[in-house]
Amino acid sequence: MNPTGLIAMAHADFIIISWVLSFVPIAAYAWRTLRRARQIDPLVSKDDKPWT
């Protein structure tokens, strides 16, 4: 195993942008889901959350 130096990697910009554009929208979606759940939680009774 020879770790490749990022600076020496060809097209490092395209590759890093690809990885960022893969994880950032998914993380934003996850954050939005958890935030919405917290917002409406006071309106939901315990009976409607059988997983808790």
């Binding site: 490749t4 097209h11 490092a12 942008i17 990885w19 998914i26």
Partner: protein, 250 residues
């Protein structure tokens, strides 16, 4: 490790989803290190192969998401209890699938710029994938139409059962038509995989990580949809109660 105050703990979280989340997070970091630093460059693709470690897993998991949407929809339509949990599972899975398919299209486009010299070509694989993406955006729009929860579940289940038929068309588009897109490297009919060991391991590890991420997202989203449905039902119940009280007072 200090505990979060109960008001900050997401109400859709359980210890199982928390553990899954930690595993997915650790797996993502390891996948990044393997994909960027430890795997070799490809003989033909050069360093652009590193985009494949996110492009291919997100594509496969998007297929999985849409298949799960269809299976849950069939379960809702033909199940004895017409379970609303299955309807919400279908909706959550389609939402996550659309995000993963969007990621597939964007990363594929960036890879295409490096390999083909263009971000987009009206190639059979690219076109059918874009069509699949738009179809599931349509499915989500159908879910957002008015009506009762049961009406929403029934009409969106029917759409999901038709939409899933596009997946074989997308997968086999590179065989059915002359395509710029490369043919399958792993899921080949003869089972002959011609990839370096660590590259293949990283690709498969990516599939595992993104599948875990998909499961985590779908569980949380499905629970959120259940909470939203409960709030809406309570609103409807309150409106009926108010109407009845109005009738009595007349």
């Amino acid at each position: 490790m200090s505990k979060l105050p109960s008001s900050q703990v997401p109400p859709t979280r359980t210890s199982a989803t928390r553990n899954l989340g930690i595993l997915v997070l650790a797996g993502s970091v390891l996948l990044f290190l393997l994909g960027i630093f430890f795997t070799a460059e490809d003989v033909d693709q050069g360093s652009s192969v590193r985009i494949m470690y996110v492009h291919v897993p997100t594509a496969w998991v998007a297929y999985l998401a849409f298949i799960l949407t269809a299976v849950a929809s069939a379960g809702h339509l033909w199940g004895r209890r017409h379970s609303m949990n299955l309807d919400r599972l279908a909706g959550a899975s389609a939402e996550v699938g659309v995000i993963f398919m969007g990621v597939t299209l964007v990363t594929g486009s960036l890879w295409g710029r490096l390999s083909w010299g263009t971000y987009w070509q009206w190639d059979p694989r690219l076109t059918t994938t874009a069509f699949l993406f738009v179809t599931y955006i349509g499915y989500l729009a159908v879910r957002g139409l008015g009506g009762t929860h049961q009406q929403r579940a029934k009409r969106s289940a029917i759409v999901a059962l038709f939409a899933v038929l596009e997946i074989p068309l997308v997968h086999f588009s590179v065989v059915l038509w002359r395509s710029l897109h490369q043919k399958a490297s792993v899921l080949r009919p003869n089972g002959n995989v011609t990839m370096d060991g660590l590259m293949l391991f990283t690709l498969m590890f990516g599939v595992v990580v993104f599948t875990g991420l998909f499961a985590w997202l779908v569980i949380h989203r499905q629970r959120l949809l259940a909470m939203i449905d409960a709030v809406e039902m309570r609103g409807i119940d309150a409106a009926i109660e108010a109407r009845r009280a109005e009738e009595v007072n007349r």
